[in-house]
Structure formats: structure tokens, C-alpha cells
């Protein structure tokens, strides 16, 4: 802590005799379980981050758009009349020189976490509540500063000089109240937090987190206009009507909810990195180096009495590209980590440099199959093909490797359920297949949102974290009902009417009766029955992604049912009922 030693001494003395009554303006720890919290927030953080991202001067008006509405605007933009909720045209109308950027969560987080690095020198513990907002427990400051105002002043002046951003401070007995106080740049006296909260409008619950929006609507309809109205209700009634979320909101409103925030711990991070002296594309070299690196990481993790269940592997190529993948590994050890890294590197380099290399590998494995006979199952997966010749790709290879413990848990949380049958054996088998045929050869099913079966399919390589792109909970008007095709396809075909003319599709229906399907091979099949055609319009709000589809189910004379879809004037076979 780099505070003034004299002040620290004084404060230390003050707290040494820390009967609450003895100190006037510095009961830095609130009574009854509360913790005085200082919240610092940067107003219009998204706009500030966008300006930093695009290297704009602070005087350039900046407006950040999300879903077509302004969600943040900096001070010059506000002065020009831009308000939150404006659309893009209104921005251009009010302030033509304004710089309009799309909201980017990464930018928000990136600049903030970089900027608040300065705070690490000043305070022992702090928590990032979100981009633009951070919380500092005030009891961590009591040794360094005489009272709250001086602490705030010192911190803010240091932060402003380090970052150039404007910070609004707020102090209250709970974190939630402190966040609200920061929005008004005020300090709530100790013990007055409940009164402060009671006067706040119910809409401030939006800080409570996901799902609060619906709750706010319901509360408003019930006539609860302020947090005080909500707090006045009996906690049990709220819980029985609104379950956990309602209880959370009630706790926040009443100023009782206090969850200890996970502190940002300034210690060695649980990651390891290794720069290579010479770039390499050889997976055996990488695997060898990784084993040591992984052992280091696991030792670090183990020393804290934790278990690592997911690991993020980062590879950096000479050209500056990077590959990140997060893997979930059940029996995490240096060998399994090295395997994953090898697969990731192989897949990445193969995809990046030589698209044909995967085929070459398959050919060689099939050749090996012929040689091996009865004892092929005892045979260890053959060592990898040596990668491409290092000389050829010396400017391509990987120069740095990083491992990050992505998910940590206590040892009890990592143990497998007793009721899962032979999962370990299954894991072993599937890993072996992944080793032989590549990680993408073993896929586990999942579902995501979408209109067609091809879009709802979410096949993820075994033991990788699934990352759905589309929300399955959202409504998907026009999504296909059961029965759905059993396999997914995407094959351009011709759908012909009686005279051999192609069948056109309009929103009102087909232009003519479909009679024959012609496959790319030239084979044809007659259509004996067909469904009504129904249009599916997706992404109409974005001209880049908008597609207009007409979907049709047909039954052919061989008794097969097929799902067809017309996109951009071309019919496709998109699914087969098999």
C-alpha cells in the first residue's frame, strides 16, 4: 500500500481504539453485518471505451449504439442534444459530426480492466462489478486514510491522473446502494442506507442483474413505485410469489442483502506461458514442451487445494494470429493437456496452412488399417505424422503457448457421480478415437435455437464446451415442427413442374405443382405428394444476413419424405426422413 505513512499511522491508531462511538466521521465498517462499500463508476463508460478504442480525442462526440438505440453518449455528444434511446438517424440529425459506433462488450471490458490496473497500486482489494464500475470495500482503506472523503479524494485523483477518465464515487452500507449512490455521486451516511434506498424508484432494480426487467414491470403494475414500497412488503410474501429472484430484489431494496463479493485477488494468476525460441509446427515438439508447462500449472492449482476442470489453451503464431479453445477434461493431468494442445495445434495449422493435409492423414490411417489385423486394438495410436517440414513453414509456426485454468473447483465438486455408468471407460475410448481421427471426429449432440434442423443442430467435439450461437429459449416463428427429418443435408437440386419448368415459390405459395426432383447426379424422382409451402424469413432486420426461404416437404414415389427449401432462387434438399 503506497499511502502516506503518517496518515496510515493515524488511521491505524484510530482503528486501534475502534469502539464505534469513539470515531466521528469514520465508522468505515458499518454495523450489523454490513460492509461500507465505495463504488466508483465511469459515467457513459461504453462511449469512453469506444473513444479509446478508436483513438478519438475526448472532445469528439461519441454515441454507442446497441440494437439501433443509443445506449451511451459522452459529454460532448450530450451537449449536442443526443439522448439515450435515440436512433441512429436522430443522432445524425442532432450532431452530424458525432462518431457513432456499435456497442462491443469486449471493448468495454478490455479498456476497463486495463485502466484500473492503476488501482492495484492503491488498494489491496477491489472487485470489478462490470465494465465501468468497480467496488472497493472501505474497511480495506481504513488503515490508509483518515476518513471516507479523504480516501475517495485520494483514490479518484490518482485514478483520474492515471486514466484520464471521470469517476463518480458512491458510498453506502450495501454494494447495491453504493452503485445507486455512485449514479448520483453521493455519500450515504452510515445507517441511512435503508432510507436512501426507500426513496429510489423501482426501476433502479435493473442493476440487480438478469431477469430483473420483467420483475420491474410486474412491480410497476402492482403499484410498487419505489424500493421502499417493495421493502415494506413481507419478505415471505415476496418470496412465495416471485421465488429466488423476488427475494433477491426484496433483499436489495431492504438493504439487507449482502453477499460477500469475490475480491480481485492480486496474486499470481493461474496461468502459464511459454515462448518458443524458434517457431515450430511440429506437434511432437509442442506436446513435449506442453507436458512440462502443464505440470507447472497443475502444481500451482494443487497448491491452493483446488482442482482444475477446464483449461483454456492459447496458441500464438508468428503471423500474430491466435487460437483459443477451452477444453473440459475429466482426468486432468499433463498428458491429457498435452494431447489437447497437440490436437488444437494440428487442427489449426492444418486448417490455416494446408487444407489437404487432413485428407492425407486419413489416407495413411486407412492404409495402416490394412496392415493391422487381429491385434489392432492392442496397438497404441501410432505416433503422429511428423508435421509439415519445419523448413517449409518456418515463418508460419507457433511461437508461444499459454495455458489458463479456466474453471476451478474444490476437489469434491470434481468427483464424478457414482450413478454414471462407466463414464471413465467411455471417456477413455472416445479420447482414443479422438487421438486417431482428430478431435472433431467424436461429436456429442446439443440443441440451439433456429428454424431448420441444420440450424438447431449443435454438434460439439467430445469434452469441449458447447457454444450455442442462437438462443433456444427465444421464439423461432416458422420453426419446423415434429416430425423432423432424421438427417441434415444441403444439396442443390431442381424441383420441376409437369412440363419440366422449374417450380417458383412466392410468399403466397408455389407457382406450379411440383412433379419431379432432379438430383445433382442427374437421377430424378417423381413427387407423389407435397405439403403446403411456408415462407421463413430470418434476419430481416439486418440486410447482410437476411435470408428468405420457402420450405416444402415432399413424398417421392419411392416412399421417401424429403425436406426442401428454396433460398435465393435455388432449391436445396435440406433434410431426409430416413
Amino acid at each position: 500500500m503506497s499511502a502516506d505513512p503518517a496518515a496510515g499511522l493515524a488511521a491505524g491508531l484510530a482503528t486501534a481504539r475502534s469502539e464505534p462511538s469513539s470515531v466521528r466521521s469514520e465508522p468505515i465498517t458499518g454495523g450489523d453485518g454490513h460492509r461500507r462499500t465505495l463504488v466508483l463508476t465511469v459515467p457513459d463508460w461504453s462511449a469512453v471505451a469506444a473513444a479509446a478504442e478508436h483513438d478519438l480525442s475526448p472532445r469528439t462526440p461519441v454515441a454507442v449504439l446497441s440494437a439501433g438505440k443509443v445506449i451511451a453518449a459522452n459529454a460532448p455528444a450530450r451537449a449536442a442534444g443526443i439522448a439515450l434511446g435515440n436512433n441512429k438517424r436522430a443522432v445524425g440529425y442532432r450532431c452530424p459530426e458525432a462518431h457513432v459506433v456499435a456497442w462491443d462488450e469486449d471493448v468495454d471490458n478490455k479498456h476497463f480492466s486495463a485502466g484500473v490496473g492503476a488501482l492495484e497500486e492503491l488498494v489491496a482489494r477491489f472487485t470489478l462489478l462490470g465494465p465501468g464500475t468497480l467496488a472497493i470495500p472501505l474497511d480495506s482503506l481504513k488503515h490508509g486514510y483518515a476518513d471516507e472523503p479523504s480516501a475517495v479524494e485520494a483514490l479518484i485523483s490518482a485514478l483520474v491522473s492515471a486514466t484520464g477518465w471521470e469517476f463518480f464515487p458512491g458510498i453506502a452500507d450495501t454494494v447495491f446502494a453504493a452503485v445507486l449512490a455512485a449514479g448520483q455521486a453521493r455519500r450515504v451516511e452510515p445507517g441511512e442506507t435503508v432510507e436512501f434506498l426507500a426513496a429510489q424508484p423501482i426501476t433502479t432494480l435493473e442493476y440487480a442483474g438478469a431477469g430483473a426487467t420483467e420483475l420491474i414491470d410486474t412491480f410497476t403494475q402492482l403499484g410498487l413505485r419505489t424500493l421502499g414500497d417493495l421493502a415494506a412488503l413481507d419478505a415471505r410474501d415476496v418470496t412465495s410469489r416471485f421465488a429466488a429472484l423476488g427475494k433477491h430484489a426484496h433483499d436489495l431494496a431492504a438493504g439487507t442483502g449482502w453477499t460477500p463479493l469475490p475480491d480481485h485477488v492480486r496474486e499470481e494468476r493461474l496461468n502459464v506461458e511459454l515462448g518458443l525460441d524458434t517457431p515450430t509446427t511440429r506437434s511432437d515438439t509442442l506436446g513435449f514442451l506442453t507436458r512440462q508447462l502443464a505440470a507447472d500449472l497443475l502444481t500451482k492449482v494443487r497448491r491452493r487445494g483446488l482442482v482444475c476442470t477446464q483449461i483454456t489453451i492459447e496458441l500464438l503464431a508468428v503471423s500474430g494470429q491466435a487460437s483459443h479453445r477451452t477444453w473440459r477434461i475429466e482426468d486432468m493431468n499433463e498428458n491429457t493437456i498435452a494431447d489437447r494442445l497437440r490436437w488444437q495445434a494440428e487442427g489449426w495449422l492444418a486448417g490455416a496452412t494446408r487444407p489437404g493435409s487432413a485428407r492425407a492423414r486419413n489416407r495413411s490411417t486407412s492404409a495402416r488399417r490394412d496392415k493391422t489385423s487381429a491385434r489392432r486394438d492392442k496397438e497404441e495410436p501410432a505416433p503422429d505424422e511428423p508435421g509439415p517440414d519445419p523448413e517449409d513453414f518456418s515463418e508460419e509456426g507457433i511461437i508461444a503457448v499459454g495455458l489458463v485454468a479456466a474453471e476451478l473447483t474444490t476437489p469434491i465438486g470434481a468427483t464424478k457421480s457414482l450413478f454414471d455408468e462407466n463414464t471413465g471407460q467411455v471417456t477413455h475410448t472416445l479420447e482414443r478415437l479422438q487421438g486417431l481421427f482428430g478431435p472433431d471426429s467424436v461429436l456429442v449432440p446439443g440443441l440451439q435455437g433456429g428454424w431448420d434442423p441444420a440450424e438447431t443442430n449443435l454438434w460439439t467435439p467430445w469434452q469441449q464446451a458447447a457454444s450455442p450461437v442462437r438462443n433456444p429459449g427465444a421464439p423461432w416463428p416458422g420453426a419446423l415442427h415434429a416430425p423432423r427429418p432424421t438427417t441434415v443435408d444441403h444439396l442443390p437440386i431442381d424441383v420441376l413442374a409437369v412440363g419440366g419448368r422449374p417450380v417458383g415459390a412466392r410468399p403466397t405459395g408455389l407457382e406450379s405443382v411440383p412433379f419431379t426432383i432432379r438430383f445433382p447426379t442427374g437421377a430424378t424422382e417423381d413427387i407423389v405428394d407435397y405439403s403446403g409451402s411456408w415462407p421463413v424469413e430470418s434476419g430481416w432486420w439486418d440486410p447482410e444476413r437476411a435470408t428468405y426461404r420457402t420450405r416444402l416437404q415432399v413424398v417421392t414415389d419411392s416412399g421417401r419424405a424429403l425436406l426442401l427449401s428454396k433460398e435465393n432462387g435455388q432449391w436445396y434438399l435440406t433434410g431426409r426422413y430416413r
Partner: protein, 229 residues
């Protein structure tokens, strides 16, 4: 002397899981339960273990997935080989527990190798073989299937299989010449137990009995078919 030598053998056999009596030894392992609509197709009312079952014809993949559904719900692991890209939504519709299904995307010519690795720990395999195995390969595959008591469903006919189910006719309904959509498919399947008619998929996406209006004749037929076995 005979009694003396038989005792350790009996003891050893009784230590094997699942073999409690001599009858159990002769009957082999109990078949896996399947959907009640599908169970008449199988000789012993369920998906046999340690044997190869062939399922061919239209809608055979749906039929195979519907057959394995009950096993996956009992936490048995199932894998598909050579199926292309199945639609997850239809797999789920047919009742398969997605947490216990794995799809293998491996070269078609490697299916035998992949299957022989999977047999070690999986309970059910659904395979569309890329090529037919030679007699020697087939014998080894059969021996392995028998040893590990795996249920092996092949979507093309394969010599050495013990049960053959062939779907001989499929009739889709609901499309109404441009005024409806696919609703259900009436399937006629022939197996060692006779000819069976059922809906796959039925209106709910799962196998279903043929509904009453059309089953005036079928309802009369079916008991006769069931008794022939």
C-alpha cells in the same frame, strides 16, 4: 470326481454378473427394453445383447433411434457410426437421451476399426457400414459383440445377424397435396415375428400404434401375427 470338478466352475459362473441360474446362461443376457410399440418386432420383446440386428428399408434410421431410446434413458451409452449428420432435434423427438449419444464422423472405410474400439465400452452401436466386412472380419466382430454383450444395429443387411427387421412399406400422411404438412408415417415392417404395422414417427414424433379408424382391419390382424413366433 465330477462333482468335485464342477464345483469351482459353478462358483466361477455364479460370480459372473447377471448369471444366476443355468437357464440364464442358456438364454443369454436379457434383452434391452424398447418402446412398447416396437417390442413385438423383436423375438424376445427387446433389443438383444451380444447379437447383430439388421434394420433395413425406409425409415430404418428413425426406427433404430427409436429402438435405442429406452436404453439411453437408462444411462446406457450409444454411438452412431456412418450416419452422416443426424438432426439433433429429431433424435431428441424420438426419445434418445442426448447426454448418452455420440456421433462418430470418421472415414467410411474405417468403420470396422471404429466399431471395434467402441465395443469396448459402449452398450449400443448403430452402424451404417461403409463396406461389408470379409468373412474373417465378420467372425471377429461377432465374437467381440458377443463377448462384450453389445447391442449392435446395422442399417444394411449383414450376414451373421440373428434378427432381421426389414421395413417393407412407408406411407406418409398429412401433406394433402399442398394443403398440409407431414404428420406421421405408417410403417410396415417384417421381422422373424411376423409383419407389423405402426406409426413412425407418430403425430408426437415418437413411435405410435396405428390409430383406431384405420385399424379396423389391423386390429383384427395383429393378434394373429403376434401369436406366430
Amino acid at each position: 470326481m465330477d462333482v468335485m470338478s464342477a464345483a469351482p466352475l459353478v462358483e466361477q459362473l455364479s460370480r459372473e454378473m447377471g448369471i444366476s441360474t443355468a437357464a440364464a446362461l442358456f438364454d443369454g443376457p436379457r434383452p434391452r427394453p424398447v418402446d412398447p410399440v416396437l417390442s413385438p418386432m423383436f423375438r424376445r420383446g427387446g433389443l438383444p445383447r451380444g447379437e447383430i440386428v439388421t434394420l433395413t428399408g425406409g425409415q430404418s434410421l428413425s426406427c433404430a433411434l427409436a429402438t435405442i431410446a429406452a436404453a439411453t434413458q437408462e444411462q446406457k451409452w450409444c454411438a452412431g457410426i456412418g450416419l452422416g449428420e443426424p438432426a439433433v432435434s429429431s433424435i431428441a423427438d424420438l426419445g434418445v437421451d442426448l447426454d448418452h449419444f455420440v456421433n462418430l464422423v470418421t472415414p467410411a472405410e474405417d468403420w470396422l476399426r471404429v466399431a471395434s474400439i467402441l465395443i469396448e465400452s459402449f452398450d449400443v452401436l448403430v452402424v451404417d457400414p461403409g463396406f461389408l466386412p470379409s468373412a474373417g472380419e465378420r467372425a471377429r466382430l461377432l465374437a467381440k459383440v458377443r463377448e462384450r454383450k453389445v447391442s449392435f444395429i446395422s442399417l444394411t443387411s449383414m450376414p451373421g445377424s440373428t434378427e432381421q427387421i426389414e421395413i417393407t412399406d412407408t406411407q406418409w400422411s398429412g401433406t394433402e397435396h399442398g394443403h398440409g404438412r407431414l404428420r406421421s408415417c405408417l410403417v410396415q415392417a417384417r421381422s422373424q415375428t411376423g409383419v407389423h404395422r405402426f406409426l413412425l414417427p407418430g403425430p408426437a414424433g415418437t413411435p405410435a400404434e396405428v390409430p383406431a379408424p384405420t385399424s379396423a382391419v389391423d386390429g383384427f390382424e395383429r393378434p394373429v401375427i403376434r401369436s406366430v413366433s
